[in-house]
Symmetry: none
């Protein structure tokens, strides 16, 4: 799993420094921009998960940046946390009107709060991977919460890649996946790997499935699928 990317757009250096330090410490990947135009460039280049956006920026205001991010297909789902100076309450309304996801007033009393809000935002977006926690087909069970797969009730020890591969296949039995789909699903969309790598993982998976290996079927010329029925 790749690191979560955060873009800080703020021209007040001390704030940027502290925030960047804290975020990096916590394992995030941090980018920065000091004005609106730079912000847009960075955002489109790095596609961050979260943008911490000051309202009061040189060149291009935060509100404008927000609008443009929202209108571009590649960045419209980016989480945006707006920062604005105290007292300018109308900013707040405007901020949300142009689609900010959260709003914090400067001066930031406590970095902890800001960090917490960033975390909260990220958590809120998560429910993408949340359908049906455990699924079961043909005696094979895949439980995401426990990160455990069982065959005929017996636990099978899978590696992360094998697990995600099986998880992907079993969730749409009968559907044939080509290798590039499987690379994206099981190894991560941002990995650059030869598609043949999937073959090797399939082999490892089949081996661990013993006599049930044939549930993972080969679709010649395409890729693989989980047996239907």
């Amino acid at each position: 799993m790749s690191k979560t990317k955060v873009l800080i757009v703020e021209d007040y250096r001390p704030l940027v420094e502290t925030l960047e330090y804290q975020l990096k410490r916590a394992g995030y990947e941090v980018y920065r921009a000091a004005d609106g135009r730079e912000a847009l460039n960075q955002a489109k280049l790095y596609l961050p998960d979260v943008v911490v956006l000051d309202v009061d920026l040189p060149v291009l205001s935060g509100v404008e940046v927000c609008k443009q991010l929202r209108s571009d297909a590649t960045t419209k789902d980016t989480l945006i946390l707006m920062l604005s100076a105290l007292g300018e309450e109308s900013d707040q309304v405007v901020g949300f009107a142009v689609g900010a996801d959260d709003y914090v007033v400067k001066p930031v009393e406590s970095y902890k709060v800001l960090l917490q809000r960033i975390k909260a935002l990220l958590r809120r977006r998560e429910p993408s991977m949340d359908d049906a926690d455990a699924i079961s087909r043909c005696g094979v069970t895949v439980d995401r919460r426990r990160f455990v797969a069982t065959i005929e009730g017996e636990a099978v020890k899978l590696t992360k890649s094998e697990f995600r591969l099986l998880d992907t296949l079993i969730r749409q039995p009968g559907r044939a996946f080509d290798r590039s789909e499987l690379v994206d699903a099981a190894l991560g969309e941002d990995t650059m790997v030869l598609e043949r790598t999937i073959d090797v993982h399939v082999r490892a998976l089949r081996k661990k499935m013993n006599e049930h290996a044939d549930l993972v079927e080969t679709v010649r010329g395409i890729g693989y699928r989980f047996r239907e029925e």
Copy 2:
């Protein structure tokens, strides 16, 4: 396990009807209130797990209801999901400020999304025996009230972090937690520490568990879990 209880507080009938139908279908027990005062009464009477709370209510505003729920000992841990009308986005800020756990903007585009949010909330708090003061598994007992853990009846002296770590893990045996979840649960949501710090606490915990160290299992690529069964 008794059904999960959801209280819908909303005065717009069509929304209530649909939501209630969907929630019941999904196996929840549903209560409803059309204004703020009624909401408080119901909440204190039925102690729902989740309150879906409209901001804009007759008699008593959602914000006020939220505040009061949070200040009452019997309802202070209730999960609150706020609904606010589009255009009144500053409500969201206030909502979080008074302690809402999540918010969704009306009109609700998709009930699926709302349901997912509710589920996500519940999952975060999941431990169904969350309120149980003491829990026991595989010879290990964790007593929140006394802040004491015992193994095979023998008391084990744990630090606060170790205790909360064990407490988190043992309350959902088998469930795999990633490190960031464990940081939030054991060290506090407002701390920004390297996720690797968890490894060190786990080691300390295992050491104190002696021959039972293997009850805390490593889930490679994910994090840790408490052994199931």
